[in-house]
Symmetry: D2
């Protein structure tokens, strides 16, 4: 068993909720804590709700802040939830944090949707982060990808192997 | 990415459905294929629906059949769904299948329940089987356990670290 | 708006929960209160959890008790949840309670199932009980039936118009 | 039993779906047909998908079109799904359609959300439309309201009795 999992949340579709009075969809509180509680998980974790952004709005400064949050922690296992549009890009900026097992995931449908992929992806990311060698992985569509081998296919709304 | 995942289903709570005309609860078709399809997974898999049993009724012959199904396949990554009461026991009988990554999981609530742990556990098992070194793991309650370190706490209805 | 709704629960599939440690399905606490709270209903109600029985085990004495609970109350609007197998039969024994609007409903799948008809049926029963003339109605499969015109088709697992 | 139900859909939150590629929320196909099919309803209905609008964008012309669709049909029972912000206002413009039972409903959360009120409200509207005298009713939060007695409390995100 791992000692303690550090969870960093940054926003994205996974945390989107719906405000009827504005007929709008905004990023709410991180959903992952609620999910882990409902699933009655048997490990310790800490949630660092670092930012609440659509991934299209994540800047280089934000990516530096994510990296800083990892460096500031002594956790060896880190799970990051992130919007899907630039998830792979953020993953690539986290190279070189030696000795850490880092997994990034998100969801294509908000966690509050009936058939959302959020709970499945969180599960898959947890399974990966506990089993992998130190390094960085992206978990989407049931696959544990290396950052350099995966791309989001926006029109098909899924992650797939990068061509060529 | 893994080449192909072999999924062996054996029954258990995860596959239980409800028959109103009998006011009864029986093991139905494996739910995992439906889940993987709904999650739009980006890997190949094959489902071998080997048996439909409550895990309390799994015999030594059944365990030999599970082992045989693995040996008969050239898949290196294997996911087994199983009832929770004897899941750990079955895991222990699969030792010695060199070069295979084998993960057993199940669920404490039927997959068709609203807040079932089934989708989460399947996700977690998938993340583990793709990331681990060859060997055997049990995935329940968000943890990737070694077979010898975990036990089902029946009264609390959860898996936890074996005492001592 | 109605003044106050009396809800009498008797058990049945709608209230069935799953006990993993017994691999069994039993009648739990009434689910209707939880549903009405989640739906944030704008009326007053009182839940009388009268019994917890499969409807195949409901006796003439039980039916007398249900009738007694109605007579003992000054509520004019009554909603009864009941197992589906003898729901129509119980409805027929409640004739002659003048001046009361009484609706019986249940569900073909436990309320805790993902695609259960429970929430839909409770909604439909509420709409009927507030809108009808005094009398008795059975609500199942989206129809507000008179007790004499409906029958459960067990093999098809649905309620339908009684032939002839 | 009613002969045939005419269902008119106009859009609103109930039909909102989520487009990840636009990080946006738009009105999709009417959800009510899918719901009625899933609930295996035992009555005939026809869905007229008249428009797809947020109720804040429903104009007087749109309301005339809704009224026209009712007048053009020989159905005596009509169910209308509508955005919640101006649902009551639309209800009030349908006065004077003699001999028709008309119920308007919507939902505060999209039908695709896990704990949406959509299925409950549709059930409640169906129960009302089958049981009421000719006239117009608004169904929200479990209550069958007359159009003049109800108001949406936007900040509390619920419908309630109009003050004094």
């Amino acid at each position: 068993m791992i000692e303690k999992l550090l969870i960093i949340t940054t926003g994205g579709t996974i945390d989107k909720i719906y405000f009827d009075d504005k007929s709008d969809y905004q990023i709410g509180d991180p959903q992952i804590g609620e999910t882990l509680q409902a699933m009655n998980v048997a490990f310790d974790y800490e949630v660092n709700a670092l930012m609440r952004k659509d991934s299209l709005h994540i800047t280089d400064d934000d990516r530096a802040a994510i990296r800083g949050a990892i460096e500031a922690s002594d956790a060896r296992h880190i799970l990051i939830t992130h919007g899907t549009d630039t998830l792979v890009q953020t993953a690539q900026t986290l190279e070189g944090l030696d000795g850490r097992c880092i997994v990034l995931t998100g969801s294509l449908f908000p966690a509050r949707f009936r058939d959302s992929d959020a709970v499945f992806n969180i599960g898959c990311a947890l399974g990966a982060v506990q089993s992998m060698e130190p390094g960085i992985r992206v978990v989407m569509n049931g696959v544990v990808w290396q950052p350099g081998e995966v791309v989001k296919n926006v029109s098909e709304n899924r992650f797939e192997a990068r061509a060529g």
